[in-house]
Amino acid sequence: MTPPLDGHDGYPALHSPLGHIEEWESSAVDYLEARLSALESSAIDSHLAACGSCRERLAEQKRMIVFLAAVESVEVPGDLESRVFDRLFLVSPPPSRERPTEPGVLRRLLTGAVRRPWVPAAIAAVVVMVALAGSGDVIRSGGGADTSRSGLDSSSVAGGATTVDAQTESSKSAPASTSSVSPLGAESSDVASRDAAGNTVAALDLPGTATTVLDAIQDSPPQADTGDPGLTETTVTTATTDMAAISGPGAYGAGDQGGAAQHATPTIWVSVGVAAGDVDAGSVIEQITGLHPLAIQSSPDVPVYAAKIGRDSIDAILRQLSDAGLTVRLSDVPRTPLDPASALEAHDISALPYLVPVSPQGDTLSGSILSRTADTEADYVLMVLSAVR
């Protein structure tokens, strides 16, 4: 197939002098398959002749092509066919997916102002993944004082009692009714389990004229670490090697490894997942945090909301989310960014004040993403919120 001389894939044709390979990645893929026009190939040849680092990166691509092509396919388990056809040929109703019957808790939340106390019973858990780049530090939260492995048990995921109790203790700005915070049920959105007074969790107590958490945070100076047990427990993990490896070389700037929670300007990856029972969770995120949708389409599967926030504001935001009744859990699993994040990566982060929207699929919002700032010296992080089922 001879591509047209004026380019391919809808892009204008490459021509000399070329920049480095990261500017023509998709053409590099075609180049390796001999699918470029002679003109474009020679533009690449010229660049490669003079650029050892691009030659190496191309060589790496070739190695991976060969390597992956040699990976053998795995045989389909033998019993699968009968599983499929038994189901198909037997007359039986399809399994119905369990849904919370509680009607639109979040919808009710939205119609009432955010300032009112509420327990989003349908919101089961907020998962926040924070990785302090270069140090291997992990901030754990939501599990109270218990930051050992056992603290991260599945009950905390589904908003089980343990997590909520811890959260109750940690919710310091709550009024006296905090003690009767109702547990966040997983499936049985038991909204009725509030305290006798009908109060639930503390209202979002936003200072000043701020109407959203983000406003509040951005208005106020960064808060010192107050030792909130629910949010500031830090654990130095030995996962440094892991994280650096996962994110690839160069992800951690100066390679500041090890050390305490206070470091110079590490790059932080933050991802927050909010488990929710209905589609309005995304709007809830918007309401609580004030993060607005970005114009960029997100990755195929996940609706995400992201915004640049000051690195020092993370604790404050987590606290506010926690006060709003969302269980916050942190993990140390950094991943490479999905497409919107990587697109963000290539751009000036400071130009991104808003969120990335994705239309919910059916009635489920889901996903969690970690993104890193393009600038490893950044004072800002990309905070990504998503709602998961």
């Binding site: 691509q61 092509i65 992956l68 396919s73 998962v127 030995t238 488990a275 991943r335």
Partner: protein, 211 residues
Amino acid sequence: MPDHMLTKDQDAALVARAKTGDRDALRELYDTYSGRGYNLALRMLGDPWDAADVLQEAFIKAFGALSGFKGDARFSTWFHRIVVNAVYDHMRRRRVDPLEDEIMDRLAGPGGPAQPAGGIQASVEPHMDGLSQPLRDALMSLGEGFRLAIVLCDLLGFDHSEAAEILGVQEGTIKSRIFRARALLAAYLRDHGYPVPEEPQGNHDHTERVT
């Protein structure tokens, strides 16, 4: 790896029979597409049990929806899109919980992640073990968009245009994801003590697509 065994016409004929409820045709469709479908789910989810569940779901969904399949798309594209969606659904359902598994996996002992038996210089032999742990970990370290692109094209042999159709993105997007995913995989494997070996003999400037 690629096993596009049916021509478009054979495909269409088979699907037409399957739509009438012809059980043999359905089984033939299963035989034709289960291999790639399973491997797609397996590479995306990293777990054979999950992959089996997902593939089962995908086939049931696909066969159940056959009456609505119009044949304007290729069955392969349509079916693998169903598989991808089933993978996504599974990931969503598991999203909150399995993070703990991942945390547990990644919290290694004081020495960091386990070193391969052969020491730092050992490289992973793809022929010997279809789903070697380092490769699996490397794939799982990728973001889903990257993982999908590289699994579809570099592992399963879909061409870029069909992969783009399956995922509903531009071809250029697929290619750039593939480019980055390859680099990320190479880095991960190298950093975990499994540098990907050089090509066995010689260099070719324009490497033919390895099939």
